[in-house]
């Protein structure tokens, strides 16, 4: 196997793959394939996806996280992705930015969740410099104390992926499909979705955000433009990604579990 050049001018090389309107399941499959079968660093920017889609983390339980009856009624697709973390609903207004890196891209960076999260915040601190009150709050990107981006990661022996779905804009009604999560950051302080999140478009134009993100990435990497064809390799041909669309039967079973859970809670003896 030929060893490709991995650094230039002291900075690691990264392939920049710009997509537009790629379905989120296809994006997740691409990311997992690149994580597991590529030896290069990748930055993927997907400018919006297709129809509204719910994306849960690897251990997400639909009966705990979703208003399933509404989801089924309105035929909202539900995906379980390969990374950890919480639940988001994405649509044409969402901007996705993903980093897939070798551990040795930054030898001083420990490949554990918190250091990678902190590293990523350096990128966006630069993006929002002079524009908004950006910070990393617990594990969320916030403007002030309002979350505008959901993060998740997957870490393997020699590589990691850190991906973000940015709420550049969203439909208020879509948030009604998501329950308040049991596990929430302290700074959320029991706020409902609409009081907790904000629209990035109120702070920065869409193309401006994408351009500034690419510039910020360029301060940590040497960028090379890539296309989807470049993401294919012989190793990737037999790879089977784990992110998948939940079947209707699974969602219906989740309704049953949700009702059983409520029935148990209702019939539990009251504490004296």
């Amino acid at each position: 196997m030929a060893v490709s050049q991995t650094r230039s001018m002291g900075l690691p090389l990264i392939n920049l793959l710009r997509l537009r309107g790629v379905p989120i399941l296809q994006q997740l499959h691409l990311e997992e394939r690149l994580l597991r079968t590529s030896y290069d660093n990748w930055c993927i920017i997907n400018d919006g996806t297709t129809k509204p889609t719910i994306v849960m983390g690897v251990s997400g339980k639909a009966e705990e996280l979703l208003e399933i009856e509404s989801v089924i009624r309105d035929e909202i697709p539900v995906i379980r992705r390969f990374t950890g973390g919480g639940t988001v609903i994405v649509d044409q207004g969402t901007i996705f930015v993903t980093f897939i890196c070798n551990k040795d891209a930054f030898p001083d960076l420990q490949s554990y969740p918190q250091p990678i999260m902190s590293w990523s915040s350096l990128i966006y601190k630069k993006v929002f410099q002079g524009i908004g009150d950006f910070s990393l709050r617990e594990n969320d990107y916030v403007l002030g104390n309002h979350k505008f981006g959901g993060n998740a990661q997957s870490i393997t022996k020699n590589r990691w992926v850190h991906h973000t779905s940015f709420l550049w804009d969203y439909q208020t009604s879509n948030m009604g499909y998501l329950k308040l999560p049991k596990r929430a950051p302290e700074y959320r302080q029991a706020r409902g979705h609409l009081d907790f999140i904000c629209r990035m478009k109120d702070h920065i134009p869409r193309s401006n955000f994408i351009d500034r993100t690419i510039d910020a990435v360029g301060s940590h990497f040497v960028l090379t433009s890539a296309d989807l064809e470049a993401s294919q390799s012989p190793l990737s041909l037999n790879f089977e990604p784990s992110s998948r669309l939940l079947k209707r039967e699974e969602l219906e079973e989740a309704i049953f579990k949700s009702r059983a859970r409520r029935a148990c809670a209702a019939s539990a003896p009251q504490a004296s």
């Binding site: 950890g84 973390g85 554990y112 918190q114 250091p115 022996k157």
Partner: protein, 167 residues
């Protein structure tokens, strides 16, 4: 520009784990490491922070105190079924913590003979008891000589210290 990133163990720099003192294992000596994660004598360690305890025909595998400390609260564990093969250095499962899934790699090759089913209900055992109740799989080794390629307690302690010092 050298990146000096904050590592989660910094916040716990003064913590000294005494998990081994409550051990159900037969009197393992424990060493206090300068990185303040517990490392047990008699165990072998991989550079990806898994431990293995070889006991007769079976080896028990889990992740180290250093690993659980850096990962944060474990909320979900994915494990293979009994009967599946594992290969030294390859992933056999994963843990979810914070917003990340992290592969867990097998220090040795063999066949899974038992899986810790308690971890599905109580994944936090990996945090509270990484070397005892938080064990992940038991394996029948196919090549016991692989154990010789792993680090002992002192070597692993030094490895952790050097890794943390360089970040």
């Amino acid at each position: 520009m050298a990146l000096r990133m904050w590592a989660s163990s910094t916040a716990n720099a003064l913590k000294i784990s005494t998990a081994a003192s409550k051990s159900g294992l037969v009197s393992p000596a424990f060493s206090l490491s300068r990185c303040f994660s517990t490392v047990l004598e008699g165990f072998k360690y991989a550079n990806s922070h898994e431990w293995v305890k070889h006991d007769g025909p079976v080896a028990t595998i889990g992740i180290t105190d250093h690993a659980q400390d850096h990962l944060g609260e474990v909320v979900f564990v994915e494990l293979p079924e009994a009967g599946k093969p594992v290969t030294q250095g390859d992933s056999f499962g994963s843990v979810e913590s914070v917003k990340a899934t992290s592969d867990v790699n097998s220090p040795i090759s063999g066949e899974v003979v038992e899986v810790n089913t308690k971890l599905s209900e109580t994944p936090g055992l990996i945090n509270t008891s990484p070397y005892e109740d938080g064990w992940m799989i038991k394996v029948k080794p196919s090549n016991p000589s692989e154990l010789e390629s792993l680090m002992g307690a002192k070597e692993y302690t030094k490895f952790c210290e050097e890794e943390d010092a360089s970040h």
